[in-house]
């Protein structure tokens, strides 16, 4: 009897221990907070020595960033500097930096946390469609009053991707523009200059091909890579604002001018201007084709300029790379200097951060210290990321010492307007269809520009109807 009693008691102990382990997370969180408070006390005393005892009570906030890996060290250093400044600004505050791969954060971790209602206070956020979905569900902090208070609302070049129903829910950390990087050494050898007309560009592509070189780098395993150029081409032929009109029904994917853009892309594929076998190559190989000298031109975002710096994979091409916008096309609609530009990645803040006065103060300080001219210039000079905020041209010129970056800025300045990439304008279903199926089918010869336009329009109409 005694033995069975002992057995029963031990079993109950094990079971209750197990159930306690799986118990209420709120209690755990409270306990953890208590522990964290205890451990952080020492750190906080120094920072808050001059403050009132109550406001100096230690508290912790998490910053989820995506600056992981060797090539993001400079961006991480900027964040660390900002974090240091905010900690000095807000008594008692200790930041916990949580670095996660961008894709994992965007598609898994942050979404899970949003669903569970426990996102970090500050996190890396994509503008469209992510921020709008989170904002609609009330998960994000409305930044409009903070921006008004800090007086920086009008300092951003474009906040549309982070705006939902007139309120701002996130801030872009930097911007990018897309155009052609070209091998200047090869061009100089041929006595060429960056093309001023579309005919000149096409002649150069034909001549490079005839010379036995690959005219354009190609790596289309991921659909977004070829779509950068295809997007710019259909926007040249059908107008820079055409993509924005797909979701409203004012324009269609099978409009003749859109088809012209797709047909031009197909024509270049058929003429063998892209690296053969491109559908099997990863984005990393795209860069390698260019840096190795195999491909003479590469259509890519301005973020790629960081590759052509000392210690990076394109080090051998420092001073030998130029950048130009797609020249105007004959019969093209709208501004023919328009550049594809994006400001879709930045920081967002959890709605719960606004409920605690001190956390709100920390958020304000973070915005003040991160989103200013100094940090935007550091991003540009150290990391090759274009400013998301308006920066005076004279200041920009003074800070840029890199030839390629000067050329990029000159291209940006010479374009009279800009338009965002398609994936921030059309619904996710349309993005999936064009990225995963249609563009690869076009390249692989399984579809025609006309059929592609029809297929996309069908998905677009279904997506538009679903919204209504």
């Amino acid at each position: 009897m005694r033995k069975s009693l002992t057995l029963l008691l031990s079993l109950m102990f094990v079971t209750s221990a197990l159930l306690t382990g799986c118990g209420d997370t709120k209690n755990n969180a409270a306990n953890n907070k208590g522990e964290a408070a205890a451990t952080n006390e020492a750190a906080a005393t120094t920072a808050a020595a001059t403050e009132e005892p109550v406001s100096a009570e230690p508290f912790e906030m998490t910053v989820r960033h995506t600056q992981v890996g060797a090539d993001k060290q400079k961006r991480l250093a900027i964040l660390e500097d900002v974090v240091g400044k905010v900690q000095a600004d807000v008594p008692g505050l200790t930041f916990k930096l949580d670095g996660v791969d961008s894709d994992v954060n965007r598609k898994e971790k942050l979404r899970g946390e949003m669903a569970a209602g426990n996102p970090p206070e500050i996190f890396d956020l994509f503008g469209s469609p992510d921020s709008k979905i989170y904002a609609k569900e009330g998960k994000l902090l409305d930044l409009t009053p903070i921006l008004d208070e800090l007086g920086i609302k009008d300092k951003f070049s474009n906040l549309d991707p982070f705006t939902y129903e007139g309120k701002i829910y996130g801030l872009p950390i930097g911007g990018s523009g897309e155009g052609f990087f070209y091998n200047k050494e090869y061009y100089t050898g041929k006595g060429w200059k960056a093309p001023a007309t579309f005919a000149e560009l096409e002649q150069q592509l034909a001549d490079i091909k005839a010379d036995g070189k690959v005219p354009l780098a190609g790596a289309s395993k991921a659909g977004w890579v070829p779509l950068m150029l295809a997007n710019h081409l259909w926007s040249r032929y059908a107008g820079p604002d055409v993509t924005a009109k797909f979701a409203t029904g004012e324009a269609k994917w099978n409009d003749p001018n859109v088809i012209k853009g797709l047909a031009k892309y197909k024509e270049w594929v058929d003429k063998g201007y892209f690296k053969k076998g491109e559908l099997g190559f990863e984005y990393a190989e795209y860069t390698t084709q260019f840096t190795s000298g195999e491909a003479i031109l590469m259509y890519d975002g301005t973020w790629k300029s960081s590759v052509f710096k000392a210690g990076q994979s394109g080090e051998g091409l420092i001073g030998k790379v130029g950048f130009f916008n797609i020249p105007p096309v004959d019969g093209g609609v709208g501004d023919q200097t328009a550049l594809m530009r994006d400001v879709n990645n930045g920081y967002g803040f959890s709605a719960s951060a606004g409920e605690d006065e001190r956390k709100l103060a920390a958020v304000k300080s973070f915005i003040k210290n991160m989103f200013n001219e100094e940090m935007q210039l550091r991003g540009l000079v150290e990391d090759g990321v274009l400013p998301a905020m308006k920066v005076d041209q004279a200041v920009l010129n003074k800070n840029i010492t890199d030839d390629l970056m000067s050329e990029i800025v000159a291209v940006l300045n010479s374009s009279q307007s800009s338009f965002p990439a398609f994936d921030s304008l059309v619904q996710a279903d349309v993005t999936t269809e064009i990225s995963n199926i249609q563009i690869q089918s076009l390249i692989g010869g399984q579809t025609t520009p006309e059929k592609m336009g029809d297929a996309l329009q069908k998905i677009q109409e279904e997506a538009n109807a679903a919204v209504e």
Binding site: M1, K3, S4, L7, L8, L11, M12, V14, T15, L18, L19, C22, K107, R111, M114, A115, G117, P129, I133, Y134, E137, K139, S220, K221, A222, G223, K276, G277, E278, L279, G280, F281, E282, A428, D429, T432, N436, I437, Q438, Q440, S441, I443, G444, Q446
Partner: protein
């Protein structure tokens, strides 16, 4: 002690911890998945809208979903039709080598302990159109380069070969263990009676390892139904969706598009298809081969 064990309450108490874990990590997720499969939940919202059978109708009416089902079918056929015979063949060979058996076992087992991402990169080099091993060999006999991963005709086959390479060794070690556990007297008696090596392999060893082959086939079918990682690292489901499987379809068309309800529908369909295929296999083949007595 005996008294305690006669009390049903004690048994229940012993079972509770395991049951709690089983319910938490198996039963609850399945039922939660089934529940969400009937909703249009976006994965973020606090409110969940009931969508009836809409998600199921959408999936079953989507041509791309059926392409992915067909590709899972190719995985099963390749596993059972090509991989399993090779597994048996190599197991018999290795079981009969006199020297360096350990080395052979380690060598064939090696790919299965490698991460799929590494295998993707490794085979990416082998399939590389210009400098890859396959095309170099084909070039020696004057065959034009084949675009293994970027040509719709070869992309699925390339994945199947890589997947088979990754898992063959794992199953070989399983089959090998079964072969080596067969009492040596049986083989010796047959040898004394004048049976050749081939006869001993086909008439004695093979019939005795049928149960483990059956298990290998079962595991291959289950593995084929949930394949995803190898497709993601090799082709990302391309070119143009031609190598999509059900799991990658679920990620691409549902999860990344904030359609968790639809994603759960696909997960439920994968679960159901796997259940049906494995149940069919059990009923038709496996039951007949469950027991072997020496």
């Amino acid at each position: 002690m005996n008294k305690a064990l006669r009390n049903p309450l004690v048994f229940i108490l012993f079972v509770i911890p395991a049951m709690v874990l089983f319910i938490m990590f198996f039963i609850y997720p399945i039922f939660s998945s089934i529940y969400y499969s009937f909703t249009s939940w976006n994965g973020v919202s606090d409110t969940v809208k009931y969508a009836g059978l809409d998600n199921f109708k959408k999936a079953l009416g989507d041509e791309r979903f059926w392409v992915s089902v067909k590709n899972n079918g190719w995985f099963i056929l390749f596993s059972v039709g090509v991989q399993v015979p090779l597994i048996v063949f190599f197991s018999l060979l290795i079981a009969n080598v006199k020297k360096l058996k350990g080395l052979y076992k380690t060598a064939v087992f090696m790919p299965s302990i490698m991460s799929t991402a590494v295998i993707g990169i490794l085979w990416g080099f082998i399939y590389e159109p210009n400098i890859g091993l396959f095309n170099k060999v084909l070039g020696l006999v004057g065959i034009e380069p084949v675009y293994w991963l970027s040509d719709e005709r070869f992309a699925m086959l390339s994945i199947l070969i890589t997947n088979a390479w990754q898992w063959t060794g794992f199953y070989i070690v399983m089959v090998l263990a079964a072969i080596l556990s067969i009492p040596g007297e049986l083989d010796e008696a047959a040898a004394i009676d004048g049976a050749t090596g081939f006869q001993r392999a086909t008439r004695i060893t093979l019939p005795l390892i049928v149960p483990i082959i059956s298990v290998v086939i079962m595991l291959s079918i289950a593995g084929a139904m949930k394949a995803a990682d190898i497709v993601i690292v090799m082709t990302k489901g391309g070119p143009a969706g031609s190598t999509e499987v059900m799991a990658t379809y679920m990620i691409k068309y549902a999860i990344t598009n904030f359609k968790y309800g639809y994603g759960n529908t696909i997960a439920v369909l994968i679960f159901m298809f796997t259940l049906v295929v494995t149940a069919l296999y059990q009923l038709v083949f496996a039951r007949r081969t469950e027991r072997i007595e020496y």
